[in-house]
């Protein structure tokens, strides 16, 4: 299946970024939430302590007693008015009602002035002067008036007199039953975080509470900011990745263009200049392939050239003889010319067959399958075919086999190989000569040997005689070969990884040896077992 590297990289890199970001975002969300909770808890505690100090001082001064319950309506009313006016920007409200001095109230900084004035107008006591700076300091320290200024409700409980004071947002019942420390409570489906503190005398309990939503709001704000940043960043990241990947893939595009522009026959190596290191091996491999292709093409070109060369001469002979036969008035000359034509046609037929064999070896898939084959069986077939020809020349043909084992070869191909070698031997062996064929199983290979009593080939010409269309000078006129036989033999031997060795036979002629490698030992053993089984059955 094909896919775009650019798309793949884009998708994977983006997904990976998203995943990593998601995990990081989740972790930082968790951490932030914890930190926010801690921060708020601390402030809750601080506020409670501030109030406690305040209450303590009031208690010390004796200005705080337990009889304010009958007046509760009044401050509420006032505070309601105030709260209505300032709800918009005052989320934190304190409500403090000392019995003697009436309403003592504080809200956030921005609202201190009107409230102050209000208070000043109502009450011009020294008490105010003492209180406000403390509040100011404390409240500034806890950074009130900020966006996230907390909605804090508080209650002042007297153990003997019940609720003494409360903020507007606080209910009239106790936030918590605890006297000290943190606790949580659920009121009207709202979770409140409560901090309780009891004053030193143990008479008064201050309960400062804060709604969970405030905290959630802050953490939500932080996380939504994170998400927003990412949503804005994602397309930008995508674009950047797309661009960078495109830039990095440029060499591939250049390579593709360079390859597309090529003619099939143009196989000069590609340049590795300006290529990234990762692509150099690829281009080197392509260049290697080009070299091999070039060699194969050259091979083919030479073969065609050789073949046409080899066909032209006999054709010229045929044409010339035909001319002679047509023109001559001498019946004897005509007869000879016609017999020459027949001879030439036979020779060319053989040559064309050899050429076809040669090209079929290259292209035909039927020659690719290899299986266990008894080479000696193929030899017997070939000898049976060629025997009449040998008999004509009174050539003695002998076949001997020793330790013959099957080899993994392509039967038809090996038959062609054997036929060519034996045919060659018969062709070049003079009448009444000998052709000896032996098959010997050796440790690592099966040896096929064809020896003749012909003129042989001088050792210095062994290599040349394997070339296509080479015909040995000394024998060229006596035997009508095509010069293709040994090329075919060599090619087939090559296909089977078999070695082809030329030498001098015991009769002084040519000795052709082909060494077929045996299958690996394991296969060898199994075959021997099968064979012994077969032999046992036969003998039993």
């Amino acid at each position: 299946m094909n896919y775009s590297l650019r798309q793949l990289l884009l998708v994977t890199l983006l997904s990976a970024s998203m995943l990593i970001w998601g995990v990081t975002a989740y972790l930082s969300y968790e951490v932030t939430r914890g930190e926010v909770a801690n921060l708020f808890d601390a402030e809750l505690a601080q506020s409670a302590k501030v109030l406690n100090v305040f209450v303590e001082s009031l208690v010390n001064e004796g200005s705080l007693s337990g009889h304010i319950s009958q007046e509760q309506g009044k401050p509420d009313e006032f505070f309601n008015n105030y709260a209505l006016r300032h709800q918009f920007n005052s989320r934190r409200v304190f409500q403090l009602w000392p019995q003697d001095d009436g309403l003592l109230l504080y809200s956030e900084n921005t609202s201190t002035i009107p409230i102050n004035e209000q208070i000043s107008r109502q009450n011009q006591t020294d008490f105010d002067d003492q209180l406000w700076p403390i509040f100011d300091d404390l409240l500034q320290a806890s950074a009130l008036g900020h966006k996230y200024e907390k909605k804090i409700a508080f209650q002042l409980w007297s153990k003997s007199n019940g609720l003494l004071l409360r903020s507007d947002s606080a209910p009239t019942f106790a936030f918590s039953t605890a006297d000290h420390g943190f606790s949580e409570t659920n009121i009207d489906n709202h979770i409140w975080h409560v901090f309780n503190i009891t004053n030193s005398t143990g008479e008064y309990i201050i309960r400062v509470a804060q709604k969970e939503e405030i905290r959630a709001e802050l953490t939500d704000e932080i996380s939504s900011q994170l998400v927003t940043q990412f949503l804005i960043g994602l397309p930008i990241l995508g674009l950047v990745i797309w661009f960078i990947v495109g830039l990095s893939l440029n060499p591939i595009n250049r390579l593709e263009k360079a390859l597309a522009m090529r003619e099939a026959s143009y196989l000069k190596p590609l340049s590795t200049k300006r290529l990234p290191n990762e692509m150099v091996p690829v281009v080197n491999e392509i260049n290697n392939l080009f070299v091999q292709l070039e060699q194969a093409f050259e091979h083919e070109r030479r073969f065609t050239a050789d073949a046409s060369h080899e066909l032209r001469t006999p054709l010229a002979g045929l044409l010339t003889q035909a001319h002679v036969a047509l023109r001559t008035t001498d019946e004897e000359v005509r007869k000879q010319a016609l017999s020459r034509i027949k001879q030439g046609v036979n020779r060319m037929t053989y040559m064309v067959q050899q050429l076809l064999t040669f090209s079929r070896i290259e292209s035909n898939t039927e020659f690719l399958t290899k299986q266990n084959t008894m080479v000696s069986r193929e030899i017997v077939h070939v000898i049976a075919d060629l025997e009449p020809e040998a008999h004509k020349k009174r050539i003695l043909m002998e076949f001997a086999e020793e330790n013959a084992v099957p080899v993994i070869v392509n039967g038809p191909l090996v038959a062609i190989l054997i036929r060519n070698i034996i045919d060659n031997a018969i062709k070049y062996t003079p009448p009444k000569g000998t052709v000896l064929i032996t098959v010997t199983g050796q440790e690592r290979y099966l040896q096929l040997c064809v020896e003749d009593s012909g003129p042989g080939i001088p050792p210095e010409q062994y290599e040349k005689s394997l070339e296509r269309f080479h015909r040995c000078v000394e024998t060229a006129n006596t035997a009508k070969g095509t010069g293709l036989g040994f090329s075919i033999v060599q090619r087939i031997a090559g296909i089977h990884n078999a070695d082809l060795i030329l030498g001098v036979s015991q009769f002084g002629g040519l000795k052709v040896t082909v060494l077929f490698p045996l299958p690996i030992r394991q296969a060898d053993n199994s075959w021997q077992k099968k064979l012994s089984f077969f032999n046992l059955r036969k003998s039993g």
């Binding site: 046409s308 032209r312 010229a316 002979g317 045929l318 044409l319 010339t320 002679v324 010319a337 030439g344």
Partner: protein
């Protein structure tokens, strides 16, 4: 006209020998390059037909050796290679003509006639002298616009002498041009043919140079 054919293919060589003999050439045929080289050193030929792909010594080497010996005998090269570079190489090596296999025998013969003509310094296809018109292509001779019937050997001798007007041609040279190795030469046949030629044509045409040979005198030089 004596011609050396060097061709290692048996059927082609055999066909060429038969075809060229029909054209009146005395053909010697060799299949081995080295032997051909030796034969060219020892014998005089009017024409050489040379294959390039030969055992022992290739045609190009024979040609180079021939030209190195200052032998100007016209050489026609037979080749199976049809690339231009091969032909250029051959012509540069001293070949006078190139024929690519397979070829028509007629074409080879026509080209050989042209080669012979050029080597005799003529450009016209026919030789005309003192009312005798000799056409090597059709092998016809007329004298004073009348057709003259000549035997093959008579024609050969006449065309050889007419190709060398004003030069003495030795008897042995004439014999060589008439007979290839495989034919028997009778010692007086040249005289017999000359005799008939004198009878059929102008009796004063061919002059005997005693002990040397024969000449057709060039009257223009007188």
């Amino acid at each position: 006209m004596r011609l050396l054919l060097v061709e290692d293919d048996e059927i082609l060589g055999d066909g060429l020998v038969a075809g060229l003999k029909m054209e009146g050439y005395a053909v010697d045929w060799l299949t081995n390059g080295k032997l051909a080289d030796e034969a060219l050193k020892l014998n005089a030929y009017e024409l050489i037909v040379l294959d390039l792909n030969l055992p022992d010594m290739d045609g190009m080497s024979i040609l180079k050796a021939l030209r190195a010996r200052k032998d100007e005998t016209p050489v026609m090269v037979l080749t199976a290679k049809d690339t231009i570079s091969d032909r250029v190489l051959g012509l540069d090596s001293g070949a006078d003509d190139f024929v690519i296999k397979p070829f028509e025998l007629d074409e080879v013969c026509a080209r050989l006639r042209a080669l012979a003509r050029r080597s005799e310094g003529r450009s016209a296809p026919t030789i005309e002298y003192k009312g005798i018109i000799l056409d090597p292509a059709s092998r016809l001779v007329s004298y004073n616009d009348e057709k003259v019937e000549l035997s093959q050997k008579e024609f050969e001798i006449l065309s050889f002498l007419m190709g060398n007007i004003g030069k003495v041609v030795s008897r042995s040279r004439l014999e060589e041009s008439l007979y290839s190795w495989d034919s028997d030469v009778e010692s007086n046949t040249v005289e017999v043919h000359i005799h008939y030629l004198r009878k059929k044509l102008d009796s004063t045409l061919i002059r005997t140079v005693r002990g040397v040979g024969y000449i057709i005198d060039n009257d223009d030089d007188l």
